[in-house]
Symmetry: C2
Subunit: 356 residues, 2 copies
C-alpha cells in the first residue's frame, strides 16, 4: 500500500514534469510555448554608413567606416560583415566559438553565400536557413526551440544584408543608376547577431509562432510591403488567437521590414480582424531611416534591417527593461528575379517570437 502510494506519487510528479518540460508545448494551431525558454544573453547590430546617419545611430554596436570592409567585392563585404558581427557578439558575451553548439544563419544572396562564406572559419555546426527578410526571426525561432528541446546550451543566430550586393543581384548594378519607384524600399547594409542560451541574464524567448506561406497575388517586386503584409496578418492573428491575448499584452509589436506602405496595410487589416495594433506597432524598416530626409521611399528592408534594429536597438531596450514584452515578427518575400520575370506572384511568410 505504502509502495503503491509512493509509485502513484512518483508517477503523478513525473507526468506533471513531462507536461511542463517535455510534451504538449503546442498551443492552438501554430504556436509553441517554450518550457524553459531561451535567454538572449547578448545581441549586436552592426550597420553601414547610411544607416549610421539614421535615427538609431546611437543604438548600434558599430557603424562601418567602409561599407566594402576592405574586400574586393560587395559579396565578400557582406560575408565579412556577417562574420565580424558574429565574432563581436560572441566576444561581448565572453564566449569563444567552441562554446557555441550551433549557428543558425542566412541572408538574401543566391545560395546564401553571405552566411556560408561568413561563417566558414568559425568551425561551429551550421544550419543554413532561407527565409528572405524573415531570417532573423526564423533563426531565433529554431535556435530557441533547439535550446528548449535540450539539444544545445548556446546557439548563435545571425543574418545580414548589404545594399550594394542586393541592388546588384535583385535590381541593377549601382553604376546603372536605375530609378526607384516611391513604393520601393532601401536594402539595409547591416547585420544582426543574437546568442541564445539555456540559462543566463537577459530577455527570454517564451513563445514561437511559425508562419505559413501566404500569397495574395501581388506581382510588383517594388512593393514588397504590400506583398508581405498579408503574411504578417496571418501569423499575428494566429499568435493572438492561439494564446488568447490581445495586442496590448505587448509593449511593442515589431515587424521586420514592411516599411511605410506595408505597415499601414497591416494595421488596417488587423483592425478589420478586430485587433488594434496602432498603439504598439513599430517596423524596423521605418525606425532605421529618417524616411523623408534620407530618401529611402517606403523605408528600409533586407535581413539586416530586422537583424540590426532588433539586435542593436530593441535588444538593449529589453535588457534595460524599458520594454518588458516584445513580439518580434519578421516578414519575408520568397520570390526571386526570375519568378517575377515569369509573371509569378510573390509568396510571403512571417515568423513571430515572443520575448519577455
Amino acid at each position: 500500500m505504502l509502495a503503491k502510494l509512493t509509485d502513484t506519487g512518483v508517477l503523478k510528479h513525473i507526468s506533471v514534469f513531462a507536461e511542463v518540460f517535455c510534451v504538449n508545448k503546442r498551443i492552438g494551431k501554430q504556436t509553441v510555448r517554450l518550457s524553459g525558454g531561451a535567454v538572449i544573453i547578448n545581441a549586436c547590430g552592426v550597420v553601414g554608413q547610411k544607416e549610421g546617419q539614421g535615427p538609431l545611430r546611437s543604438s548600434f554596436d558599430e557603424i562601418l567606416t567602409d561599407d566594402r570592409l576592405g574586400t574586393d567585392s560587395w559579396e565578400q563585404a557582406e560575408s565579412a560583415l556577417q562574420k565580424h558581427t558574429a565574432i563581436l557578439t560572441a566576444e561581448r558575451a565572453g564566449l569563444t566559438p567552441g562554446d557555441i553548439d550551433y549557428i543558425f544563419a542566412g541572408d538574401l544572396l543566391n545560395q546564401c553565400i553571405g552566411a556560408s562564406y561568413g561563417m566558414r572559419e568559425l568551425k561551429i555546426p551550421y544550419f543554413g536557413l532561407y527565409g528572405a527578410c524573415s531570417t532573423m526571426a526564423e533563426s531565433l525561432a529554431l535556435g530557441a526551440m533547439t535550446i528548449d528541446g535540450g539539444f544545445a546550451e548556446r546557439v548563435l543566430c545571425v543574418t545580414s544584408s548589404h545594399f550594394c550586393s542586393a541592388e546588384k543581384q535583385f535590381r541593377n548594378p549601382l553604376e546603372y543608376g536605375g530609378q526607384r519607384p516611391p513604393s520601393s524600399q532601401w536594402t539595409v547594409t547591416g547585420a544582426g547577431c543574437a546568442i541564445l542560451a539555456k540559462s543566463g541574464q537577459g530577455p527570454k524567448i517564451t513563445h514561437v509562432t511559425a508562419g505559413k506561406i501566404v500569397d495574395m497575388g501581388i506581382t510588383d517586386a517594388n512593393n514588397m510591403g504590400a506583398a508581405m503584409a498579408p503574411a504578417a496578418l496571418d501569423t499575428l492573428t494566429a499568435h493572438f488567437e492561439d494564446l488568447n491575448i490581445t495586442p496590448d499584452y505587448y509593449d511593442m509589436i515589431l515587424t521586420g521590414d514592411l516599411g511605410v506602405i506595408g505597415s499601414d496595410i497591416l494595421v488596417k487589416l488587423m483592425a478589420e480582424r478586430g485587433f488594434d495594433i496602432s498603439g504598439m506597432h513599430s517596423d524596423c524598416g521605418k525606425l532605421i531611416f529618417d524616411i523623408d530626409a534620407q530618401d529611402v521611399h517606403s523605408g528600409g528592408s533586407g535581413c539586416g534591417c530586422c537583424g540590426s534594429v532588433f539586435c542593436g536597438h530593441v535588444y538593449k531596450l529589453l535588457k534595460e527593461k524599458k520594454l518588458k514584452r516584445v513580439l518580434l515578427m519578421a516578414t519575408g518575400a520568397l520570390m526571386n528575379t526570375m519568378t517575377i520575370q515569369q509573371g509569378e506572384s510573390i509568396p510571403a511568410i512571417a515568423h513571430a517570437v515572443a520575448i519577455e
Copy 2:
C-alpha cells in the same frame, strides 16, 4: 522520515526522467541523441525520365513522363515536382496538410523558389532551409529535433532538384550544349519527401550529427565531389568519435552525392583516420545512374539525388528490415556562380542522421 523518503524517491525519479527525456541530449562534440526519436512514417521519391531508366527504376514511387510537368518553365516544373511529391507522401501516409505541424524544405534554386512556390498552397507553417545538396539531411535533422523536443506531432521534410533548372542557373542554358568535364556530375531531376512523427510504424531517427562548414580550398566547380569529401570526413569522424562506434555499426553509410570521385576520396581519407568504410559505404549519386551507360561522368548530384534515393529506395529497405541501421549523410557545396567567378574556394558541409 516517510515523507522525506517519498520526496527523495520522487526527486530521483524526476531527475532520471529529466536525464532521459529532457536534458543532456548532447553526446561528445557534435552529436545529439534523440530521447524519443522521430519515426519516418512514410517517404516517397519521384524522379525524372533519365533517372527512371537507371538501376533504381523499380524503387521510385513515381517516374515522370514529362520532366516539365506541364508547366511553362523549368523553375515552375521543379516547384510542381516538389509539391507533387509532398502531397503524394502525405496521402500515402493517410494525412491531410492539416495533420502536419511544420514543413522543412529547400532546394538549389536562387532564393529556394522550388520550395517556396512548391509549398505555398499547403498552408502549413514553413521553415525554409538552404544546405545545398545536404538539404535532405538538414531537414531530417531539424525535423527530428523539432519532434523530439516536443514542438510537433508530425513534420514534413522535402527537397528537390531539376537538371534543367540547375544547368540553366549554375552552368549554361541547355540549348548551348556546353561540354561537361569528366569530373562533373549530373544534377538529378527528382524530389524526396519524408514525414516524421512522434509515434507510429517505421524506421526511427535516433541521432543527429550536424556538420561544420569545411573549406579545403577547392575552386573547381566541376569537381564538387572533391570539394565536399573533406566535409563528409569531418562529420563522419565526429559521429564515430562522439558515439564511440566503428563503421561496422551500420549496415549502410549513405552519402548524398559525392559521386565516383568524391566517394573514392572519402573512403581513402577515412582509412587514413583509421575507419574502414569501404564495406558499407554507398553514395546516392553512384546508385541512381548506370555511371557509364548513362554518360553521367562522376554520377548524380543535387538535393533531389539524396532526396529521391533515400526516400524512394533506401527507406523501403529500412521499412522491410532489409537494412537495420543506416547513417544518412548528405553533403552540400555552399558556393554560388559568382563566388567561383570571384576566385573563391568552395565551402562544404555534411549533416548526418542515424536511422534504426
